[in-house]
């Protein structure tokens, strides 16, 4: 039985598609966006997450680690990922849950059991299930099995994807999708490469193909300071999106929910000093995009 690595199951998601939904966050992503709000989702493997606010420096973790991956220096926690074998004995030893394993393995039927819990709410509100991540199409086999099962049981399905996947695979899952939220982080491939680690040509080509197939698709643009937050970029988006016949766009203003997680993972975060954006900060971009005949919504 294929298993999928899931790092969160969020019930009562109301900004990830129609109605009240359960969003399943899958681990693993081909992109490395520098602002990522879920950096713990990058690796398609279980990871150790340390939350300093919960840590009481009891050093139980240090005592059980046989590989020297955890050290307390001047009373504070240090973790060396290169020495860690992912035995997770430190997590078991942590009394306060300051150390946690990010990610749990689920079979499709185990996941369906969680999803079913909010059935009455989906029915009443026209909701369903959204797969997110990470990149939900990264764990290819599992995601396909899951989508197939969801569709078989009559759930409305949506994915939040980077679109960075093979055409062949995309074609194989499209029949099980009612809706696709696909990100386009930047209209310029060079810029895209700089901040996400990959060029955007494959994404745009997939997007164009999906739009041709008449799959309901919303283009989502995370508006990131010092990256794509400008009139000029908005116009480039407008030109590109009209050319490929996109119709609907969501602008997602930058937020800081991810900051603590970058720290917890011991990673460097480039956006520490940037402020959370609000609706009014992206309204001008929205107006420009509307000028191209696009239907624009701010936030999900």
């Amino acid at each position: 039985m294929t298993k999928g690595l899931v790092f969160n199951i969020q019930r009562f998601s109301i900004h990830d598609g129609p109605g009240i939904r359960t969003t399943v966050f899958l681990k693993g992503c081909p992109l490395r966006c520098r602002w990522c709000a879920n950096p713990e989702s990058n690796q398609a493997e279980m990871e150790i997450l340390h939350t300093p606010a919960e840590c009481v420096s009891c050093r139980s973790c240090e005592a059980v680690c046989r590989y020297g991956a955890i050290r307390f220096q001047n009373g504070s926690f240090h973790y060396d990922a290169s020495l860690c074998t992912h035995c997770f004995s430190c997590v078991g030893a942590c009394p306060t849950h300051a150390l946690a394993v990010e990610g749990s393995w689920y079979t499709v039927s185990e996941l369906m059991e969680e999803i079913r819990k909010d059935d009455p709410f989906y029915k009443k509100t026209g909701g369903g299930v959204t797969l997110s991540g990470g990149e939900p199409l990264f764990q290819e086999e599992f995601t396909k099995e899951l989508l197939e099962e969801l569709k078989k049981q009559g759930y409305h399905t949506n994915i939040e994807t980077t679109g960075y996947t093979s055409r062949e695979y995309l074609e194989s899952v499209v029949p099980f999708l009612d809706l696709i939220y696909m990100d386009l982080k930047h209209p310029d491939s060079g810029e895209h490469l700089k901040k996400t680690g990959v060029p955007n040509d494959r994404i745009i080509s997939n997007m164009e193909w999906l739009l041709k197939q008449k799959v309901p698709l919303v283009v989502r643009i995370p508006v990131i300071p010092r990256f794509n937050h400008s009139r000029e970029t908005a116009r480039s988006y407008g030109e590109l999106l009209t050319k490929i016949h996109a119709r609907e766009v969501h602008l997602l203003p930058f937020h800081q929910f991810g900051m603590g997680k970058w720290k917890a993972l011991g990673l460097k975060y480039d956006y520490e000093n940037d402020k959370t954006m609000h609706e009014e900060d992206v309204r001008e971009m929205a107006d420009i995009l509307k000028g191209y005949g696009l239907k624009v919504q701010i936030n999900g």
Partner: protein, 802 residues
């Protein structure tokens, strides 16, 4: 922020501001006139002494008409002042006189001169009060549980009952004059030679005294209005005062003929009943239903505009807000924010499932939404057929952040009543009372909500500790085995069953003692005259005059009980990660012994918690509660077999703010809660453990045996204001509520929509948040008047971001 419902007219806004600026005082007039009457009529039956006391008060108390006010009737010598009701209790009044203004929460002010008045009348009341008699009635074991605070019934012997909605529909149709005629006719049929008839004479006489006193009271205002009109130079105001005088000459004596008269008539009775007794939660009933014919007639005939109706309603709510009550220091912690819980119920259905919402329902929402005050307490009766349009306006009000309206659902409550033997046509006409409780307006007895608080986690700890109360060290009863020596969860379960069987009859005994004393010492005759079938039967409410009569005692700490049992079951007996002895030692040392904090973390993190849609703990919680539900059903209240349908008890979870003081004196508990921390309120999950969002909470709550929880299933949810900014989010919230009520058969839910930052800021800068209102339990209160510990409790509630 712009108010969706608009702003009140300048005169209403001005009156509102004045009331917000008024510091609550204590008024001694009622105490003086009551003492005077009791002395003058010392040879009379209690029921008549009380009638004379109210008569004397209504005759002599200070009356006034507010500048620009359209309605008449004040409770005390100044607005927002709390009268003293010496016949209920005087000991705490005298003891705490000097402390009222120093209280952390619910401060009151009183002049030195008035303090002396209280001290002077106090000796007369020694040994004569309800509290004296109530305490004297308690058998030793029950008294011990009362003294130790294991079962809290202080409110029931230090104040009147309240908790009902009288028959305002009848008042408006027949006037007090009509009820006087009915009483006189019933009295004329009595045979004084028959003992059972003879007893009724005194009740009827009391009713007649009170009806005449009420009419005379209204006439005092008519005279005052005419007097003010005579010297008034503003012709418009003069006309208003003369109109008010006319209205006060007509109602409450005669049937109401206009919306204005209907509003004034209802206000007079709502007021006088709160001068007769200080029992709180005196509720209006289905206001949008019984008032609608008068509204419709005047709007259709053009006699009144909608704006005029709005002003009258707002004036009525301002009047409602002027009523105040002072409670003893220990009791006020259970009812933080000095709430009166005067509930207004709107919406619901008519017979046959037809939506009862009408234009007046919308106008009531608008008027209460414009005022944003703590009183009245607005409840909406939800049902399947209620329109999205009406729900949308309700959510707009919730967005204002003052905790109203709360929702009660017809989809379960009507069935609950029918299950208890209430006639279907009466069940459909239920109304909300006080916080979340329900009864049948005009047909149901006093105190449908018990105000008898049983601390579940505390009694569990007593049984696990072999019958010794951990808080006081007192031995309560003999239990064969200590938790330390238990070897299976079955033994723990048996201990819980034994606990319930032991404490339930004590809880009932305390209620019966209170009720017996209330019946003998402080009958409410005018209130009884407005409830069917008191007059026909010749019995006041406490004698069994009502058609239906149940009491719903309250159980506190439901989530803590369930979470504690789940932690014991899983960690001690299934996974054997700790022994009973280790757990017990950690609890007794408040997790401060060697390794104690590790045990606490294990209890907090590694055991399932109610509120996350986890069957393991949800089922244990429901099963543990079921033990009590089955047990309490075996007992009767003091009206059993004396007339009413019912005469029993049913459980309820409207904990008010009792979760704070009942947690304050409780040791650490196996759910990981530390000593002194608040318990969970109502049926809500323990603070901050419900990590799976509101749908999971709804699912957990729906697994409780709701059909049998007639006393109410209180669920508080806190939403971040950002969650309701978008139109589409509001639509989703409506559908979520519909799912909870239609499909999961939920009973009640209410919302706090204030962000944490605002609350923290209000703690620092109270003056900048003078009118910040929050939902406490089943009611709203000014944040500033709450004690710091209750404030912190509210801040700690999990906030769901949509």
């Amino acid at each position: 922020m712009e108010n969706y419902f608009g702003t009140p007219s300048p005169r209403i806004a001005k009156m509102r501001e004045e009331l917000l600026d008024t510091k609550p005082q204590v008024c001694v007039e009622r105490a003086i006139y009551t003492t005077e009457a009791y002395k003058q009529h010392k040879d009379k039956m209690k029921i008549l002494q009380r009638a004379y006391a109210v008569e004397n008060t209504l005759k002599k108390m200070t009356i006034f008409i507010e500048d620009g006010g359209l309605l008449a009737g004040n409770q005390a010598s100044v607005n927002r002042a709390a009268p003293i009701f010496p016949e209920y209790a005087i000991d705490w009044v005298v003891e705490e006189l000097d402390l009222w203004e120093k209280r952390d929460g619910d401060a009151f002010y009183i002049s030195e001169e008035n303090k002396q008045v209280i001290r002077d009348i106090a000796p007369f009341w020694e040994g004569r009060t309800l509290k004296d008699k109530g305490l004297a009635l308690m058998p030793p074991l029950a008294r011990k549980c009362y003294d130790l605070g294991i079962i809290k019934v202080e409110g029931n012997i230090t104040a009147g009952d309240g908790h009902l909605a009288v028959n305002y529909e009848k008042l408006l149709k027949e006037g007090l004059g009509g009820i006087r005629k009915e009483t006189e006719e019933a009295k004329a049929k009595l045979h004084y030679s028959d003992y059972n008839d003879l007893k009724k004479v005194y009740f009827y006489d009391a009713v007649l005294i009170l009806i005449d006193a009420s009419i005379a009271f209204a006439h005092r205002y008519a005279a005052l209005a005419r007097e003010q009109a005579a010297s008034c130079t503003d012709p418009k105001r003069k006309e208003e005062l003369l109109r008010l005088a006319e209205v006060c000459m007509r109602v409450p004596e005669y049937p109401a003929e206009s919306f204005y008269e209907a509003v004034q008539s209802v206000w007079f009775l709502q007021l006088i009943l709160q001068i007769e007794s200080n029992g709180h939660s005196l509720s209006f009933g289905r206001f949008d239903q019984f008032m609608y014919p008068y509204y419709k007639k005047d709007i259709e005939s053009g006699a009144m505009t909608e704006d005029e109706a709005l002003e009258l309603l707002e004036n009525l709510w301002l009047k409602t807000f002027t009523i105040n009550k002072i409670r003893s220091n220990s009791h006020t912690k259970f009812s933080a924010g000095s709430p009166l819980y005067q509930n207004v119920c709107i919406g619901g259905q008519l017979a046959g499932g037809v939506d009862a919402v009408n234009p007046l329902s919308f106008l009531v929402l608008k008027s209460i939404g414009q005022l944003k005050l703590t009183q009245p307490n607005l409840s909406v009766r939800y049902h399947k057929g209620i329109s999205d349009e009406f729900m949308y306006d309700c959510i707009q009000m919730i967005k204002l952040g003052f905790g109203m309206p709360s929702f009660n659902s017809d989809e379960i409550i009507i069935d609950q009543f029918i299950d208890k033997g209430v006639a279907p046509e009466d069940a459909v006409n239920y109304s909300s009372i006080g916080c979340i409780e329900v009864s049948i307006p005009g047909k149901f007895g006093l105190r449908c909500s018990g105000m008898n608080f049983l601390n579940f986690p505390r009694i569990l700890m007593i049984t696990l500790n072999q019958g010794v109360d951990v808080t006081s060290g007192e031995k309560i009863y003999d239990v064969p085995m200590h938790f330390r020596d238990m070897t299976s969860f079955e033994q723990v379960w048996q201990a819980w069953v034994d606990t319930v069987k032991f404490f339930t009859p004590i809880s009932v005994t305390l209620d019966n003692c209170a009720d017996y004393a209330l019946e003998m010492e402080t009958p409410d005759s005018l209130c009884s005259a407005l409830v069917d079938d008191c007059i026909k039967r010749g019995k006041h409410l406490k004698e069994g005059g009502a058609i239906y009569d149940f009491i719903g005692p309250l159980q506190v700490g439901i989530a803590n009980l369930g979470d504690s049992l789940a932690a014991i079951k899983k960690l001690v007996f299934e996974e054997k990660r700790i022994t009973p002895g280790e757990l017990w030692d950690a609890l007794m040392s408040n997790f401060e012994n060697e390794g104690g904090w590790r045990i606490q973390q294990m209890l907090l993190h590694d055991a399932p918690k109610y509120g996350n849609d986890d069957d393991y703990v949800d089922k244990l919680t429901a099963d543990a509660y079921q033990v009590f539900i089955d047990e309490i059903a075996k007992y009767h209240n003091t009206r059993y077999g004396r007339g009413p349908i019912g005469g029993g008890y049913f459980p309820g979870t409207s904990s008010i703010s009792a979760n704070v003081p009942q947690g304050a004196n409780l040791c650490a508990t196996p759910d990981g809660r530390k000593k002194g921390e608040p318990l969970a309120e109502g049926c809500s999950p323990t603070h901050s453990v419900d990590t799976h969002g509101p749908t999971a909470v709804f699912k957990s709550v729906s697994k409780l045996p709701t059909l049998k929880l007639n006393g109410g299933v209180l669920l508080n949810q806190k939403l971040n204001p950002s969650s309701l900014q978008q139109e589409r989010d509001i639509r989703k919230l409506i559908l979520m509520l519909r799912t909870f009520f239609d499909d999961l058969k939920g009973y009640h839910v209410q919302y706090n929509v204030v962000d944490k930052e605002t609350l923290l800021d209000a703690q620092k800068h109270p003056e900048a948040h003078r009118d910040l209102i929050v939902r406490v339990a089943g009611y709203s209160a000014f944040f500033n008047v709450l004690s710091t510990e209750t404030q912190n409790d509210i801040i700690a509630r999990t906030e769901h971001v949509l």
